[in-house]
């Protein structure tokens, strides 16, 4: 019970924040509630990280720490069951950082501030709930909680073709959810229909390998696509450019920063972990798709003219790398995948924050209309360069370590098929450099030609604060990756062991091998 | 003694006249009349079968009387609605009443 409460604080805090927001009347009260709440979340996640590391140091080798359960709906074997491993710990940390900085990034958001933050908080509750639970049903529920507010957040507070984008995003993600639900029920009944708990399914009820192989081959694609839609898996990524382009700043941050990670996390934790035979058998199909994502996203980004589109395609490329690494199925690459989730979450949030701030001033995101912003808003411009460098994998910032871990991990698969894909993925780092530098050169350097832009001001304190926090996180991760990497490996290793125990070692169906 | 067939034929004619009227008439009033016609054909059937097949019982008659009562109540309500509709739209043709559609 103590553990349940300890982890559920991540859900209780947003709930309390919702109550507080409901009671708040003035904008300062709203801001107060948000700041207090998101700070509490951040502190709690840091505390959790330290406690997690202390427990591990003390020799607790359980797969999930702080594991506890509460019966919820016994007739369907649904429990509210919580537990965290290395992966969830860092994901919680990431979410807390993004929510915290997102609060500051939307400090001056004008119409309907209170309602905006209500949905924002609800969304973050879903995200936190998803990462702490290990019961498939509860995970699915929190997943849905996180998806729905997005529709309103984009539809009401967005810009551009916001109704279209919001509808598209929601419909595509809901379509994914439908697949996902089928997959989850398939796993549930395939594993005997007496528990929804991930660990129990994997280890106790005869093991996930006990799920009939033919069934696995049906549920695996469903589950993987279900989560993959959110993880921007080619060709289900098209909600991402439109959705991000229309979303308000902090929503883009939260969406690209955290919500897209739900996809990668789910693919790994549910699709791969619970359906290991099918993952071994059919992984190659998705590997090709993700390989396409990586290269394709990067090339598409080269010719976009809208700042947010560029970043959205870059996200497709980087999130593709996450799924790509997961499907490489070894400890190193999957550690890299989680590192990439962290790194991409932080730097994309940073990017979207900066784009939002620039857009808020110039009222255009068209690359062709912007130039010479370095002189006009030096702070934002410098941060933009840093974000860009992080994106193209500058050592010392987070992108580098994630990419290197992924590439080294992917290269551990010695066959030609995986090698070719790995090398193709490596080529994306060059293309990334092309579009990032083109962008930086175009909008920041040079002379400012638009007279209207010359009068613009640099970042305000709240914007500075949120950007600096993110940069510190990016640099911190990039400079001292050892501990994060160890925490992640700790969570990844058991899952990979489980997958590699599978009877189906080689993808027999792969024509390329 | 009238043969049961004749009675049933009359009832069937009434029934199909009612159905036809219900499906084709555009006037609400005519539709109501068609419904009455169908109800009455059913009543007739009740009465006929009671008389011919179960002469000792009375359930069929009771049922017919209930139906007549319900039909009366229903007509009252329907005509009230029609009058209201007429007051608003000056028309009681069903294909003109599209306000609630979609």
């Amino acid at each position: 019970m103590e553990n349940i409460i300890f982890l559920s604080i991540f859900v209780f805090i947003p709930l309390l924040m919702l109550l507080g927001l409901w009671a708040a009347h003035t904008i300062n009260q709203v801001r107060g509630v948000m700041v207090v709440g998101s700070t509490a979340l951040l502190i709690h996640s840091i505390y959790l990280t330290f406690r997690f590391m202390a427990e591990r140091a003390a020799g607790n080798t359980a797969e999930m720490l702080f594991h506890d359960k509460m019966e919820w709906f016994p007739s369907l074997n649904i429990c509210y069951e919580v537990g965290v491993d290395g992966i969830s710990v860092v994901m919680l940390l990431l979410s807390a950082v993004i929510v915290f900085t997102g609060t500051f990034a939307s400090w001056r958001l004008k119409p309907l501030t209170k309602e905006y933050f209500l949905w924002f908080t609800l969304l973050s509750m879903g995200v936190f709930g998803f990462f702490i639970t290990i019961d498939m049903f509860a995970m699915f529920m929190f997943y849905e909680i996180a998806l729905i507010p997005m529709y309103l957040l984009i539809g009401v507070w967005g810009s551009g073709r916001k109704e279209y984008s919001a509808m598209k995003l929601t419909l595509m993600l809901m379509g994914g959810s439908a697949f996902l639900m089928c997959g989850i029920f398939g796993i549930y009944f395939g594993a005997g229909g007496n528990t929804m708990n991930i660990l129990d399914i994997a280890h106790h009820t005869g093991g996930a390998h006990a799920i009939d192989f033919t069934q696995q081959c049906i549920w695996f694609p469903m589950t993987f696509i279900g989560f993959g839609v959110l993880g921007a898996l080619f060709p289900f990524h098209t909600w991402s450019p439109d959705g991000h382009a229309s979303a308000p700043t902090a929503v883009s941050m939260l969406h690209a920063g955290v919500l897209m990670k739900l996809g990668g996390y789910g693919c790994f934790r549910i699709a791969m972990f619970l359906l290991p035979d099918a993952a071994n058998e059919l992984g190659w199909i998705f590997l090709i798709l993700t390989g396409i994502s990586v290269v394709y996203g990067a090339f598409s980004a080269c010719v976009q003219t809208d700042l947010k589109y560029i970043n959205a395609y870059s996200s497709v490329s980087h999130c593709g790398l996450v799924l790509f690494a997961i499907l490489m199925m070894n400890t190193t690459s999957c550690t890299g995948a989680v590192l990439q989730m962290l790194s991409h979450g932080l730097m994309t949030a940073l990017f979207f924050a900066l784009i939002g701030f620039i857009y808020g001033r110039t009222h255009t995101r068209d690359v062709r209309e912007l130039s010479g912003l370095m002189k006009v808003m030096p702070f934002l411009a410098v941060c933009y360069v840093i974000a860009g460098l992080a994106n193209l994998g500058l050592p010392g910032l987070s992108g580098f370590i994630a990419e290197m871990t992924i590439f080294v991990g992917s290269f551990e698969n010695a066959d030609t098929f995986h090698r070719v894909l790995t090398i193709a993925a490596c080529s994306s780092i060059v293309v990334t450099a092309v579009y990032i530098l083109r962008l930086v050169g175009k909008i920041l350097y040079g002379t400012c030609t638009n007279e209207h832009h010359l009068k613009l001001t640099d970042a305000t304190w709240d914007e500075r604060f949120s950007v600096i926090c993110l940069i510190l996180a990016v640099a911190g991760l990039g400079l001292a990756p050892l501990w994060v990497s160890q925490v992640i490996t700790d969570g990844v290793a058991p899952i990979i062991n489980h997958i590699s125990e599978s009877a189906h070692q080689i993808s027999n169906s792969n024509p390329f091998m | 003694m009238i043969h049961i067939e004749y009675l049933l034929i009359v009832s069937a004619i009434m029934m199909f006249a009612g159905i036809y009227g219900f499906l084709t008439r555009r006037s609400t009033l005519a539709i109501l009349l068609s419904i009455e016609l169908m109800l009455n054909s059913a009543d007739l059937n009740f009465a006929v079968f009671n008389k011919m097949l179960f002469p000792a019982g009375h359930e069929g008659y009771f049922f017919a009387i209930f139906t007549i009562a319900i039909a009366a109540a229903e007509s009252a309500v329907a005509i009230a609605i029609m009058i209201n509709i007429y007051r608003i739209y000056k028309n009681i043709s069903v294909d003109k009443l599209e306000k609630m559609k979609w």
Partner: protein
């Protein structure tokens, strides 16, 4: 030697300090902070070198020291370590980098005086110095790659220092992307290398000696690599060489270096002449035991790429009119000399009778001397540009009277690069030519020819700047004057080094297997090269010394096409421009973007449209007309009844 950590830490701290607080510092304070930290680094480097080279030799070689090596990032079975490795070449590089960097720091005081972004400039310089030092002391190939990327970025930032100038922006972008493209191969090479050898480390334990046995030098699981096929290690090494070729501007990846001259001149001196561009050479030298033991045949690739580059760059340098471009092409050509020298090695052991390993030593020697005199040339060019505010040779001429110090130091550097004794370039170039001749007379003679071209274009440059016709119009308007002391001091210092460096017994410190080795000049080759150099200089004097240059005009008129092609650098840039814009952007990126927006996205929009249209179609059934419902109901009943009956 724990204090060596400070060599990396000081510039990093100075970068952070200047980068974060620069805004609130005055120019003077920022410059002093940067220069002082670099001064400390230089002192520490000299201390390290002194201590290292005076230490007792073990088995005739200097011990390889690893004062630090920590795991930075675990990568499965392999580790990504960061540490410091001291061996003769890394210590030599420490001296080169810290000396040139210190000179550039001092020089920039004068050159960048009053520039906007002075603090930022010093911050970038510190960042660059830190990265470059980290690169040379790398204990493993991944650390090298990390700092390799960092020097790339600092080079990008410094080239684009004048960020309002379109040319600078384009140049910085180009430099980064071209080297990044090469780095991709480097990365793949590292991946292959790490996978098959089971380690990234150059030397896995401090107590392992720098011995002639390469398996001790790099922890190679040779069995694994050989089992995977004999071509694995050569492939990995060649891929890494492509990375090195990108950084060291080898043909055809050289195109970024001439454009990189858009950066401030001291930066060109530091990054694009003395230090960063030799990273590729250093990389091969570092992995040299691997090359010689596992991929001796692949070394011929290095040789021929080097030869081609040396010749190409020298040819282009002969006709350029921008003095910095001439120097840039001369740098490319000289680095190619170093590459060739490494490539011509055929054996690992040194000694009086082993000319096969002479190339290694001579390459490192040339790296050392070249860094000094090329930095001197660039800094001199900086003084000249500072004085006449132009890069074009046409706006110069006759400057020797106005700028005596610059003139004399420049002349010394020119003599050095031309290979005239007793200047340092003579000694190192002579060793290279000896090694080349021993490898193959063809290579030897081509390189001698390139050396002759070097002497020619350098003196063409020299006469163009300091002799010839004065640009009266410009000088009347603005009389050129000698640069301030902060700028001339580094010139003098570097000139002294250039004078003396040739007499350093370099073979005692650096050689392929670490054994002490006496340099002795091969008289035939020495005399040939000196004669050739003097002839070329005489030719240049004849053509370019006078106020009027009839011979030059005539030559240009006689071969207009050749001249134009050479001037346009044989249209290499245009080829790249075509490939990137016409092929990649227009025929890969655009179609992909179109495909994404119209086909993939269109498909989902189509799905949504389809659902919508279907809804429209079937909503007729729910039209609210009770009569229609009743009719459907009736028909349904009839059908059911009929079915039941039948």
């Amino acid at each position: 030697m724990e204090y060596t950590l400070l060599i990396l830490l000081l510039p990093f701290l100075s970068f952070l300090f200047l980068g974060l607080c620069g805004k609130w510092l005055s120019h003077k304070v920022a410059g002093i902070v940067g220069t002082l930290s670099l001064g400390a680094v230089a002192v520490l480097s000299y201390m390290t070198a002194f201590q290292y080279f005076t230490a007792e030799r073990v088995n005739g070689v200097f011990a390889t020291l690893v004062p630090y090596n920590i795991t930075w990032l675990p990568l499965g079975n392999l580790n990504f370590d960061l540490g410091i490795l001291l061996d003769p070449i890394s210590v030599m590089m420490l001296i080169v980098i810290s000396t040139v960097s210190l000179m550039v720091h001092i020089y920039s005081f004068g050159y960048m005086h009053g520039e906007r972004g002075f603090q930022r400039y010093y911050a970038y310089l510190s960042l660059f110095t830190m990265s470059m030092l980290g690169l040379v002391v790398a204990t493993n190939i991944f650390q090298m790659y990390l700092f390799w990327e960092l020097v790339g970025v600092s080079s990008y930032l410094l080239i684009g220092f004048y960020y309002t100038a379109p040319a600078a922006i384009a140049a910085s972008k180009k430099a980064f992307i071209v080297t990044r493209f090469a780095d991709m191969f480097f990365l793949v090479g590292i991946l292959i290398f790490g996978y098959y050898t089971g380690s990234y480390s150059f030397s896995f334990a401090p107590e392992i000696q720098y011995a002639s046995d390469a398996t001790h030098f790099i922890s190679v699981d040779a069995a694994k690599a050989v089992a995977a096929g004999g071509f694995i290690l050569p492939t990995a090494l060649v891929l890494m060489f492509i990375g090195g070729a990108g950084k060291s501007a080898m043909f055809p990846l050289h195109i970024w270096l001439p454009d990189a001259m858009e950066g401030p001149t001291p930066v060109s001196a530091l990054i694009h002449a003395a230090t960063m561009v030799v990273a590729g050479v250093f990389q091969i030298a570092r992995l040299f035991p691997m090359w010689i033991n596992y991929a001796p045949d692949a070394l011929s690739i290095v040789v021929w790429v080097g030869v081609l580059t040396a010749f190409y760059a020298a040819a282009v340098a002969c006709v350029q009119s921008d003095i910095k471009r001439v120097l840039a092409f001369s740098t490319i050509s000289q680095i190619a000399f170093m590459m060739v020298a490494l490539g011509v090695c055929t054996e690992f052991t040194t000694g009086h009778h082993h000319v096969g390993s002479l190339g290694y030593m001579s390459s490192m020697f040339h790296l050392f001397t070249h860094a000094m005199f090329k930095a001197l040339l660039f800094l001199g060019a900086g003084c000249i540009i500072h004085a006449v505010h132009s890069n074009e040779m046409s706006s110069m001429g006759g400057l020797r009277k106005y700028m005596p110090i610059t003139h004399w130091t420049f002349l010394i550097a020119c003599l050095a690069i031309a290979g005239i004794p007793p200047f340092s370039g003579f000694f190192s170039k002579d060793e290279i030519l000896t090694a080349c001749m021993a490898y193959s007379p063809v290579v030897g003679w081509i390189m001698t020819g390139v050396a002759a071209m070097t002497a020619f274009y350098m003196f063409r440059l020299y006469y163009g700047i300091f002799w010839g016709k004065e640009n009266k119009e410009l000088y009347a308007h603005h009389t050129p004057h000698e640069a301030p002391l902060t700028m001339t001091l580094p010139l003098v210092f570097l000139a002294l080094v250039t004078l003396g460096a040739g007499f350093i017994p370099f073979g005692h410190f650096v050689s392929a297997d670490g054994m002490s080795y006496d340099i002795h000049l091969d008289p035939t080759i020495a005399i040939t090269s000196v004669v050739v150099a003097i002839t070329s200089i005489a030719l240049a004097t004849y053509i370019y010394k006078g106020e009027k240059q009839p011979v030059a005009e005539k030559m240009r008129a006689a071969m207009p096409r050749l001249h134009r092609w050479a001037y346009k650098r044989f249209y290499m840039d245009e080829v790249y421009q075509f490939v990137t814009h016409r092929v990649i952007f227009a025929h890969i990126s655009k179609p992909i973007a179109w495909f994404d927006r119209h086909i993939v996205d269109g498909f989902f929009d189509f799905l949504a449209w389809g659902a919508n249209a279907l809804g429209f179609q079937i909503r007729g059934l729910q039209n609210g007309s009770v009569q229609r419902y009743a009719f459907t109901f009736l028909v349904g009943i009839l059908i059911v009844v009929l079915l039941l009956i039948l």
